[in-house]
C-alpha cells in the first residue's frame, strides 16, 4: 500500500501539471487576497478577517481538478497500463491515488490559507481595520478550509475514474460546481434543499464561508456531507475502474 502511495506521490511531483496548478492557485489567492486586504473599504463588513480567509477558498476548484486528473490523465497518456501492471489490485491503486491526492490537496491548501492568514495578521492591522475574528473561529475556518480542499481532491479522483475522458471530466466537474448546481438552486421546492445540502452548500458549511449568506449547517455536518459525497464518488470510481477493460 505504502509502495503504491509513494509511487503516486512521485508521479504528482514529476510533471509540471501539479506544480503549475499550485502556482496558479496561490497566485490567484495572493492577488485577490492582497488587493482585498489592501484596498477593500470593509465599511459594512461584519468580519473582514473571515472574508479575507475565505478568499483562500478560491483554490477549491483547483483541488477538484487536481483530483480529476489523477486517473483521467493516466487514461489520456496510456500510463494506466503500466500503472495497473505494477499495482494490479485496482482497489489498492485507487486507495493509493485517493491518499496521495488528499495529501496533494492539503499541500495546495496549507500555503494558501497561510497566505490568507498572513494578510489578516499583517495588512489589516496596518490599515487599522479590525479583523473581528476570534482565534477559535479562525482556527475552525483554517481547519475546515483545508479539509474541504482535501476532500474535493478525493472527490475529483473518484469522478475522474468514473468519467475517464480528461477534458470531459474537468469540464463536467467544474460545470457542476459553477453552473449546474447554482442553476438547480433556483428550482422551486428543491432549490433551497440543493443550496443547503448540495456540493457547494457542504463546502460553504465546512469552510465557514459567509459569501452568499453562509449555511444553516454546522461545519462538522458540512464536512461529513462533503466526505460522504467524496466517498460515494470514490466508490463509484473504484467500481468502474475494476470493471473496465484497459487498452
Amino acid at each position: 500500500m505504502t509502495a503504491a502511495l509513494r509511487s503516486e506521490l512521485l508521479k504528482l511531483r514529476t510533471t509540471r501539471t501539479f506544480l503549475g496548478i499550485v502556482i496558479a492557485a496561490l497566485a490567484l489567492v495572493g492577488l485577490i487576497g492582497g488587493a482585498m486586504s489592501a484596498a477593500a473599504p470593509f465599511d459594512e463588513i461584519e468580519s473582514p478577517g473571515r472574508d479575507l480567509i475565505d478568499v483562500a477558498g478560491l483554490l477549491q476548484p483547483f483541488a477538484l481538478v487536481v483530483g480529476i486528473l489523477a486517473v483521467s490523465t493516466e487514461f489520456r497518456h496510456g500510463t494506466i497500463t503500466p500503472t495497473i501492471l505494477a499495482v494490479p489490485n485496482r482497489v489498492r491503486l485507487m486507495l493509493a491515488k485517493l491518499g496521495a491526492h488528499v495529501l496533494a490537496g492539503a499541500a495546495l491548501a496549507i500555503p494558501a490559507y497561510a497566505l490568507a492568514t498572513l494578510l489578516v495578521l499583517i495588512v489589516l492591522p496596518a490599515r487599522n481595520v479590525e479583523a473581528a475574528l476570534s482565534v477559535g473561529d479562525a482556527t475552525e475556518m483554517l481547519a475546515g478550509g483545508i479539509v474541504a480542499v482535501a476532500l474535493l481532491a478525493a472527490l475529483g479522483v473518484g469522478f475522474g475514474a468514473l468519467v475517464r475522458n480528461q477534458v470531459g471530466a474537468v469540464i463536467a466537474g467544474l460545470g457542476w460546481m459553477f453552473v449546474v448546481e447554482p442553476l438547480l438552486t433556483a428550482l422551486p421546492t428543491v432549490g433551497p434543499e440543493i443550496e443547503t445540502y448540495g456540493l457547494n452548500g457542504s463546502i460553504t458549511a465546512v469552510t465557514g464561508s459567509t459569501f452568499g449568506g453562509g449555511s444553516d449547517l454546522s461545519a462538522l455536518a458540512g464536512g461529513l456531507l462533503l466526505a460522504g459525497y467524496a466517498a460515494i464518488l470514490a466508490a463509484v470510481g473504484v467500481y468502474t475502474l475494476r470493471r473496465r477493460d484497459i487498452g
Partner: protein, 305 residues
C-alpha cells in the same frame, strides 16, 4: 506443474459488443522459450495479451502466469514484464522518473533504474522529458519499464513496430540474450519474418482462434518448398506424379503444388511425357507465404493445418 509453465491461456474468449475478439483460445509457453504469437492485424493478439496481464476481463476461460492469474501475483513486476502498444508514459515526465515511479509501485529498489537506463542505452536522455524521445528511444524506455523487476516472463506486443532494420536487429539480439538467461518470452507480430529468426515456437491465431502451434522449424519444413506447375495438361501431370509417389495438391485454379520434387525432376517428367505446361516455378514459399496461407484460407477462420 504450475512452476514449469510460464504462461497458460486456457479456453480464453473475449467479446466486445457483438465482436468475438478471442474465441476459445488455448496455448502455453514454457520457461526459457521464445514463442512468437502471430496473426494478422485484428486477429485478437493484443486482446489476448491484455487478458493475460489482467488488463482485460475475459468473457470466458482463464489465463495464468506461473500458475496464477496476474491480479493474484505477489510481486507482479518480478514475475512478468510487458511491452504493450500505446504510449505507456507521460510525455511531460522524464524517462528516469517514469521508471522510478514504476519501481516504487512494484516495491523494487530504485537503484535498478540506473542499471536499466544503461542496459537500454538511454542514460544520456534519462533526465529529458519523454515526450521528446524518438520512436526508438520510446521503445527502449518501454523495454526498460518491462524489465524493471527483472521478470522471469516477458510479454511483448508488436515490439518491432516502427523500428528501422537496425532497431529490429538490436531487439532480436536483446531478446535472444534475455531468453538465454532462462526467461520465457511471448512476442506478438503480424509479420512472421520479423520474429522467425528469434522464436523457438509459434502460435498462429486468426479471428481469435488458434490455428497452429508448432516449433518454427517444423512449421517451415512442413510448409515451405516444392514446385508449382500450371497449364492445360496439369491434370495429366498430377496423375503421373502421384504414380511416382509424389505429394501433389491441386489448387482452385488447377495449378499443381508438388511438395517433394525439385524443379529439375518435374521438368524431366514433363519432357518425357510430352506434357503441355504454361508455367513451372519453384514454389520457394517464403515465410510470408506460409503465414498468409495459414491465416487466409477458410472463412470460418479455422484452417486445416
Amino acid at each position: 506443474m504450475g512452476s514449469t509453465v510460464a504462461i497458460e491461456v486456457e479456453g480464453l474468449s473475449k467479446r466486445f459488443g457483438t465482436t468475438l475478439a478471442v474465441d476459445d483460445l488455448s496455448f502455453t509457453v514454457g520457461h526459457g522459450r521464445i514463442v512468437g504469437f502471430l496473426g494478422p492485424n485484428g486477429a485478437g493478439k493484443t486482446t489476448t495479451l491484455r487478458a493475460l496481464l489482467g488488463l482485460v476481463r475475459p468473457t470466458a476461460g482463464s489465463t495464468a502466469i506461473e500458475g496464477r492469474p496476474y491480479e493474484r501475483l505477489e510481486r507482479p513486476l518480478e514475475a512478468v514484464g510487458a511491452v504493450l502498444d500505446g504510449g505507456m508514459f507521460h510525455p511531460g515526465r522524464s524517462g528516469r522518473n517514469h521508471l522510478r515511479s514504476l519501481a516504487l509501485a512494484g516495491g523494487i529498489a530504485t537503484s535498478r533504474v540506473d542499471e536499466l537506463l544503461e542496459l537500454v542505452e538511454l542514460s544520456d536522455a534519462a533526465d529529458r522529458r519523454a515526450g521528446g524521445y524518438s520512436l526508438g528511444m520510446r521503445q527502449r524506455l518501454g523495454l526498460a519499464a518491462a524489465l524493471i523487476g527483472d521478470p522471469r516472463v516477458l510479454v511483448l506486443d508488436e515490439p518491432a513496430n516502427g523500428l528501422d532494420p537496425q532497431g529490429i536487429r538490436w531487439l532480436r539480439d536483446f531478446l535472444r540474450r534475455l531468453a538465454g538467461e532462462g526467461r520465457a518470452i511471448l512476442v506478438s507480430s503480424h509479420v512472421l519474418a520479423e520474429v522467425a529468426q528469434t522464436v523457438d515456437e509459434v502460435v498462429v491465431i486468426h479471428r481469435g482462434r488458434s490455428i497452429e502451434q508448432a516449433p518454427i522449424g517444423e512449421l517451415l519444413a512442413r510448409r515451405a518448398g516444392g514446385v508449382r506447375v500450371a497449364g492445360p495438361d496439369a491434370g495429366r501431370l498430377a496423375d503421373i506424379l502421384r504414380a511416382d509417389g509424389a505429394a501433389v495438391t491441386v489448387g482452385d485454379d488447377g495449378a499443381l503444388a508438388v511438395a517433394d520434387r525439385s524443379g529439375e525432376q518435374v521438368g524431366a517428367l514433363i519432357a518425357a511425357n510430352a506434357i503441355h505446361v504454361a508455367e513451372l516455378s519453384a514454389a520457394s514459399q517464403s515465410l510470408e507465404e506460409v503465414f498468409f496461407e495459414l491465416t487466409a484460407d477458410g472463412d470460418d477462420g479455422k484452417a486445416s493445418a
